[in-house]
C-alpha cells in the first residue's frame, strides 16, 4: 500500500476487505477531520463526533461509490453529523453571528488585545474563527483543513458555487478585518 494510492482506491480496497487500506486512509484524514470538528463543536464533543463519523464511514463502505472524491464524501458525512449533533442536543454552533466587530462590547474587544499582547497570534486567530458565522466558518475550515476547492465546498455543503465562494470570501474578510482591528488597537 503506497502513499500515492488515491483515497478512492483505498476506500474501494477497504470495501473489498482490505483493512490496511482503511488505516492508510484514516492516517491521511484523521488530523484535518478532527480539527474540522473541533473548531465547530468544541473540545467537549469532538471525540464523540469524530468517532461517530468514522464509524459511519465504516458502516457505509458497501454503499460507497466513486461519484465524487472520497474527501468530499467524508466531509459531507461529517457535516451532516455535526448538524445532527446540534439538533439533537439543541445546541448552537460555536458562533456569535455577529458580523460587525464594532458591535462588540469594550470588554470583549479588549480580550483579543490582551491575547495579542501576550504574543499569542495563533490563539487570536482561533478565537476569530470561532467568532465567524457558522456557514462561513464551515467554508473556511473545509478550505483550510480539508483542502477542498470552492466547487468541492459547494458540493459538500449543498450550495451553489457562487454561494460557496461568497461564504469563503466573507470568512477571510472577517478574519482579516478582525486581525487588522486588533493590530490597530495594539
Amino acid at each position: 500500500m503506497d502513499d500515492e494510492t488515491s483515497d478512492e482506491n483505498l476506500m474501494l480496497n477497504y470495501c473489498n476487505g482490505d483493512a490496511d487500506a482503511f488505516e492508510v486512509l484514516y492516517q491521511r484524514h484523521k488530523g484535518p477531520l478532527y480539527r474540522f470538528i473541533l473548531r465547530q463543536s468544541g473540545q467537549e464533543f469532538v471525540e464523540e463526533l469524530f468517532q461517530d463519523i468514522w464509524l459511519k464511514v465504516i458502516n457505509s463502505r458497501m454503499s460507497y461509490q466513486v461519484k465524487s472524491t472520497f474527501k468530499t464524501w467524508l466531509y459531507h458525512i461529517a457535516r451532516n453529523r455535526i448538524i445532527d449533533h446540534y439538533r439533537r442536543h439543541k445546541l448552537r454552533p460555536l458562533e456569535t453571528g455577529c458580523d460587525n466587530l464594532s458591535a462588540l462590547s469594550g470588554s470583549e474587544r479588549k480580550q483579543p488585545e490582551n491575547q495579542l499582547e501576550a504574543g499569542n497570534q495563533h490563539e487570536l486567530l482561533m478565537h476569530a474563527i470561532t467568532e465567524l458565522p457558522r456557514d462561513q466558518k464551515e467554508a473556511f475550515l473545509l478550505k483550510e483543513e480539508a483542502g477542498l476547492d470552492i466547487e468541492q465546498i459547494a458540493n459538500t455543503t449543498g450550495v451553489s458555487y457562487e454561494a460557496a465562494k461568497s461564504r469563503l470570501r466573507y470568512a477571510y474578510k472577517k478574519l482579516r478585518d478582525q486581525l487588522e482591528f486588533i493590530h490597530e488597537h495594539r
Binding site: 476487505g17 482503511f22 484514516y26 473541533l38 465504516i58 463502505r61 486567530l125 483550510e144 477571510y172
Partner: protein
C-alpha cells in the same frame, strides 16, 4: 485568494494542530478491522489468505474420509491374499451355480436331502464368506448353528468347527475347515479342488486321490486342474 488571505492561511496552519488521541485511533481502527472480519487482536495465520485456509481444510476433510476407506481396502486385500495362499478365492456358491455343476442324479439326491441353505455348514459358509462383516453377523451364524438341535445331530463335526471359529476368527482357515467338513453335495468343484490341494500339501495323497474320484463321480463334466493331477502322479 489574495496575499492577505494567504497570510491568514499560513497563520492558521502555524497554529497548534490538535489530533485525536491514540486511544481514539485504536478504537476506530479496531472497528474498521472488525467490520471486514479481520480484528487486529485475533488475526490468524491465514488472515488475508483465505484460499490457503480453504485448501488446508479441504485436505483435512478428504484425509478424514479416505483413510478409513483405504484401511478397509487394505484389510480386504490382505484377506484375499490369505485365501489365495491356500487356493483360489472362495465365493459363496449360489443355487444356480451348484445346479449347473451337479449331474441330474445328484440334483435329485440333493432334493431329497435337507436343503443346503438350512444346513449348519452353509450357515457357517455364509458368515465366513462375508469376511469383513461385523462381529454380530458372525456371532449370529455361530449361535444359530449352536442352538439348532437338528444341525447338531446331522453333523457333530460342524458344531466343533463352529466352536473353533468363535474362539479365534480366521476367514481363510475357517473356509478350509468348512470345505473339509462339508458334505460333498454342497461343495462346488472349486472348493473340492481346494480341499484336495490341501490334502496333497499335507501329504495325504491317498485321501486326495479318493477325493478326486469322488469329485469325478459327482461332477463328471468338470475338468479337474491338471496341476492337481500332476501332483498326485
Amino acid at each position: 485568494m489574495n496575499t492577505d488571505d494567504e497570510k491568514i492561511s499560513s497563520l492558521y496552519h502555524e497554529a497548534d494542530s490538535p489530533a485525536p488521541s491514540k486511544r481514539l485511533d485504536d478504537t476506530i481502527l479496531a472497528a474498521s478491522r472488525e467490520a471486514v472480519g479481520t480484528p487486529a487482536a485475533t488475526r490468524g495465520p491465514f488472515s488475508g489468505n483465505w484460499p490457503a485456509a480453504v485448501s488446508i481444510a479441504a485436505v483435512i476433510v478428504i484425509t478424514i474420509i479416505l483413510v478409513p476407506v483405504l484401511q478397509q481396502q487394505e484389510q480386504q486385500q490382505s484377506l484375499t491374499q490369505a485365501t489365495s495362499e491356500t487356493g483360489r478365492s472362495l465365493d459363496a456358491p449360489d443355487e444356480t451355480e451348484l445346479n449347473a455343476y451337479r449331474p441330474t442324479e445328484v440334483k435329485k439326491k440333493s432334493a431329497d436331502a435337507p436343503s443346503p441353505a438350512s444346513a449348519p455348514v452353509m450357515l457357517l459358509e455364509e458368515s465366513d464368506f462375508s469376511g469383513s462383516r461385523a462381529m454380530p453377523a458372525r456371532n449370529s451364524a455361530g449361535s444359530s448353528a449352536a442352538t439348532s438341535p437338528a444341525a447338531d445331530a446331522a453333523s457333530p463335526s460342524v458344531k466343533e468347527e463352529v466352536h473353533v471359529e468363535s474362539d479365534s476368527f480366521d476367514p481363510g482357515r475357517s473356509r478350509m475347515q468348512a470345505a473339509d467338513s462339508a458334505p460333498f453335495a454342497i461343495l462346488t468343484p472349486e472348493m473340492w479342488q481346494v480341499k484336495i490341494s490341501r490334502l496333497i500339501t499335507e501329504g495325504k495323497i491317498d485321501e486326495a486321490r479318493a477325493e478326486i474320484e469322488k469329485l469325478e463321480k459327482h461332477y463328471p463334466e468338470h475338468i479337474i486342474d491338471p496341476n492337481l493331477l500332476e501332483k498326485l502322479e
